[in-house]
Every structure is written in C-alpha cells, then in structure tokens.
Symmetry: C2
Subunit: 324 residues, 2 copies
C-alpha cells in the first residue's frame, strides 16, 4: 500500500508519517490492515532527515499544482498542505493558489486514478466565523452553517465542498475533518494566527519569553497533536458507511483560555514559568480570534469514538514526555 | 452609470437588460437613482436583436474567463451566467470551468477596479440538497447548512463563499441571491433539469405536447420571471447596511406540484390543455429533484419587502399577458 501526505514536511505531516512508518501497516476505508510499502511526502519544504533517510519514503518538493501531476497512484491520501491563516489573510492570492488551486490539484490527481483513493482532507475550525451582522454564534454543531470571516476559512470550506462533490461523483473516497488549533506544537513559530497557543507554553518551557496577543480570557478550542493524529487516522480507517455524510466532520475540542493554559503550565511544572508570557494584545490577531468559535458539540466525532482531552495539564505532560 | 450583465443573452439577462434600458435610471447600493449610460452584455451567445440594436448596449461574446479581462469598469454587475444543472452534472469539467472559474474571472475583474462595483450574484436553491445519510431536510431557512448533492449546487455555493470573501476584503460590494426555479420561462427548452417546470405550461399553451419527468405530486419551489427580476433589482438597490450579512439571501418561493400546475393551466385557460402533458418519469431528473428542497422560510427576503406569489394561476395569467 502507498500513502501520500501533502504537507508531509510540516509538523502534523511529519508526525503522521513517522507514526505510519513505525506501525508498518494501516487499516484503510473499512478494510483489514495492509502493509505500507511507500510513504510519499509532498511539500514546499524538504522533510526532516529521519524521514528522508527511510527507504520507504519518496519526496516530491514543490507547489501542489506543479507536483501533484507527477505523484504516483496512492491508496490513501492525507491532504494537509495549506497556506496558514495569517499568511492567507495577508496575501490573498497566495492563499487562493495554495488552498484552493492546490486542493483542486490534489483532487484532480485522485480522480485520474483507476481506483479512487481514500482522501482525508484537513479542514479547520476557521470555516466558522462570527458574522458581524448576526447574533453571537454560540455552540457549534455538526450542522451549523459555516460563515467564514477569513480567507483561510473560506478556502478551507470550499475545499470541503469540492471533496464532497468529488466523492459524490465517485472520483475519490473523501473525508473532510475540521481540525482544532493544535497545541502544544513543537519547533519554531509559523505564520498561523493561532501559533501563540503553542508558543505561550513551548517557549517558557525552554526558558524563552513568548507573547500572548489576545486577552487572557479569550476562549479558544484546542486539540493535542496526538488527538489530532488520532482523528486523521480514524477518518482514514472507517468504511464509507461508517463515515456517513460527505459533509465535513468536526474533530473534538478542549475549550480553554490563555489564562487557564498559563495556570496549567505553572501547575504542571511547579514553577512560575508563565511569568515569561508577555500579555501584549495584537489588534489584528485579536480580531481574527474574535470571529472563531470556541465551543463545539461534536456528536459525529463522538460516534466514531473520538473525544476531546479533559485537561490541558495532560496535554502539557504529554508534550514534556515527547521532549524526552 | 454602466451596468454589466453576464449571461446577458439568456432569458433572465435579457429581461433584466430590457427593464434597465426602459427605466433609463437605477438606484444602486443605497444611492439615489442614476442614469444608465451603458449596458454591457457578456455571454457565450449573441443577445436578442432588439438589445443589440440599442445604442446604449455593448456586447462581449465568449467565455467569462476569456472575456471578463476585456470588460470595462462597471458600477453594477449582475453575474447571471452559468452552466445549468443538467449540463454541469453531465460534464463535470464544463461545470467547473463555467461556474467556478467563470465566477472567479468576474470577481477578479471587479477587484481590478479602483472603485469596487456592486455585484449581484445569482445563486440557486440547488445549493441545498437532501444528504442521503441524514434525516429529511424539511423547511429551509436563511441559516440552513447547504449540503449540495449536485455539481451545479456545489459550484453555486462555492461562488457564494467567494463573493462573501471578496466583499469582506473590500474587493467588491457583493450580494448573493438564491433564485428559485423560474416558471413560466418563455422560449425553447434548455439543459436545466428544472426546465420542464416551464415546459409543462408553455408547450400546452402553444398546442404542443410536453413531458413532466417527475411524479405529479413532487413538491417544487418556483418564482415567476417578474418576482425573480424584482429580487435581483432589490439586491442591487439596497445599501450595504440594509443588505446585512454577506451570506447569501434566499429569494421567496411558491411551493407547488406539477399536478397543481396542470390544474392551474386548465382553470386559467378554461380548457383541458393539460391533456398535452405526458407524465413520463425520468429517473435521473426525478433523483435530482428528490435532493432539492421545496419549502422555504425566507425571513431575510421578507425584511427587504420580497414576498412569494400567492397563486400559480396569477403566474400563468402574467405569462399570457406578456405573450400579448
């Protein structure tokens, strides 16, 4: 079996690739687990050295629209690549090319296969937005109408609709999952407006200062890396019948606030590490967060056995354990 | 003032152009009525002779993606052009090019203006669909989540999302309106799956036989040509504040059935003209109609003064009056 991962050099893509390579086999689309012969990583950037060195890994570097036509047939595709929220808002054309044209290139490549692959498409909670002309959004459910208030959210939602229609036409076995903000994400900051939700924990743990650009009591919806990977793999695993509606499925969220996260940090470490957080509001990021919902009721995910974390303390402990 | 109409050679586009030329002036975007100096008609086909002969009319013939870059700046754009439902379902690539790439070309042309125009985008009730994995759709409201079950509906909904994001970015003053099936549409049948909803009245009135391809008691949602034009002009007229949410507005619908329409036909004409209807079910068209809702609650339209017809008899009488 061949697995293709777009965004395969990014954080989630790398974790997913390592997990699949370590397991060595994978159940896909309701079938029994099958051995993984090759993992193809498509990304603008080169993958990490350990991945590039694995003889089962093939690397395709470049833009999706340019590289996907060269990609080999796959049994399972994870489409994780994208232009992140802050970058898509700052450069409209970049976002349209990366998120809309890029997704079309992935879908067209899937359609060209004799046997359509299972495609897991990573959408985002950013498809939802607080419409300034309407009453507050409140709790988001599986059938809440997304009214995206960012270009990133718009492009992600359009991707969901394309995946659903390609699936309806039989061009692909598509499953769209809406990811929460992943925290704690290791490594360096990226251009995602939500990046600080990792930074305010990661940097103080490394003895570095970090900025929280939104008010401390802003409600946010998070998922740990491991729960996020679990959601992606579960979407790949189930049969079409278990998956059900071709509409997107929202993954579970832990609702918290930066203030509560800072308290977790101090509690778990037994230090006052959160003193390293600078609470400096950034109007642009605060405005973007004000449009995103933070409370979700994810019945469809629960029916697939996917539940949110119950405590951010556990998330920090898991991050520390992974650091080793 | 210059008005540009894509699909300007089609039925609705032609009626709209004639109405605007006859009125000679138009209120746009909350401003006082201003004189119309030029009406630009963009279409694959040539417009009707009376329109082409009007000295205030300019014609651009060809695909949107090719012709829109040549189009002059406009104060008001009606984007009516599109690949109809049956054709977009039969030829996926044609639908994507016409409905998705075509809409992007219109939006990019608007964005290139120094002063963004008011853009009225004609979407469709076909954005809604009965998801086979879910409970019946029931009454559709302004905040019902569209789950399109046709490529046409998918592409139209994507257009709505692009219009909303271009509007949010200030590239255009966008207003998406979801049109009902227009009946009675004069002239010849087209490739729309819903075309019979005009044919079963129009053809018998002309002494011709017509096929009804769905069961007689199938509920359908209709709007007369005049109410549809009224909705488009109202969307153009109001201020941004009156328009409110950038999400699409669903125009009002008269809910009826082919059987009730046939009864109207006989009642209004005092004949048994409906004997000319052949009730021959077509599985593909019946399946497509089974996914479309027929009952709407259109509060937002009502707040703008837009109400549905109360009687299909009146619709037939208006059609006969227009025939002269």
């Amino acid at each position: 079996m061949r697995v293709l991962i777009t965004g395969g050099a990014g954080f989630l893509g790398s974790v997913l690739a390592r997990r699949i390579l370590a397991d060595g086999s994978l159940p896909v689309g309701g079938a029994a687990p099958a051995p993984v012969d090759e993992v193809v990583l498509v990304d603008l950037a080169e993958p990490a050295k350990d991945l590039a060195a694995d003889p089962r890994v093939r690397v395709l570097t470049g833009e999706l629209a340019e590289r996907m036509p060269d990609a080999p047939d796959a049994d399972l595709v994870f489409h994780l690549a994208g232009v992140v929220s802050g970058a898509a808002e700052a450069d409209f054309d970049l976002g349209m090319r990366g998120n809309l044209d890029g997704t079309r290139a992935v879908l067209e490549r899937c359609r060209a296969q004799a046997v359509p692959p299972v495609l897991v498409y990573s959408s985002s909670l950013a498809v939802f937005g607080q419409d300034p002309a309407l009453a507050p959004l409140g709790e988001v459910r599986d059938d809440t109408l997304p009214r995206p208030q960012t270009s990133y959210g718009t492009q992600k939602f359009i991707g969901e609709l394309l995946v659903a229609d390609y699936a309806r036409k039989g061009f692909v076995r598509g499953r769209s999952v809406r990811l929460m903000t992943v925290s704690v994400r290791p490594g360096r900051p990226n251009a995602a407006a939500s990046g600080f939700l990792s930074g305010i924990v990661r940097e103080p743990l490394a003895g570095l200062r970090a900025v929280c650009p939104v008010p401390p009591d802003t409600e946010v919806a998070l998922s740990s890396p491991s729960r996020t990977i679990e959601g992606l793999l579960r979407a790949a695993e189930v049969s079409d019948a278990e998956w059900g509606s071709r509409s997107a499925l929202t993954l579970p969220a832990l609702t918290t606030t930066p203030r509560a996260m800072a308290e977790s940090l101090d509690r778990v470490t037994g230090t006052s590490a959160s003193d390293l957080i600078d609470w400096e509001e950034d109007p642009a990021i605060t405005a973007m967060f004000a449009t995103w919902p933070a409370r979700f009721r994810t019945d469809r995910a629960a029916a697939l056995g996917l539940e949110p974390e119950s405590s951010y303390d556990d998330v920090i402990r898991a991050y520390l354990a992974d650091l080793g």
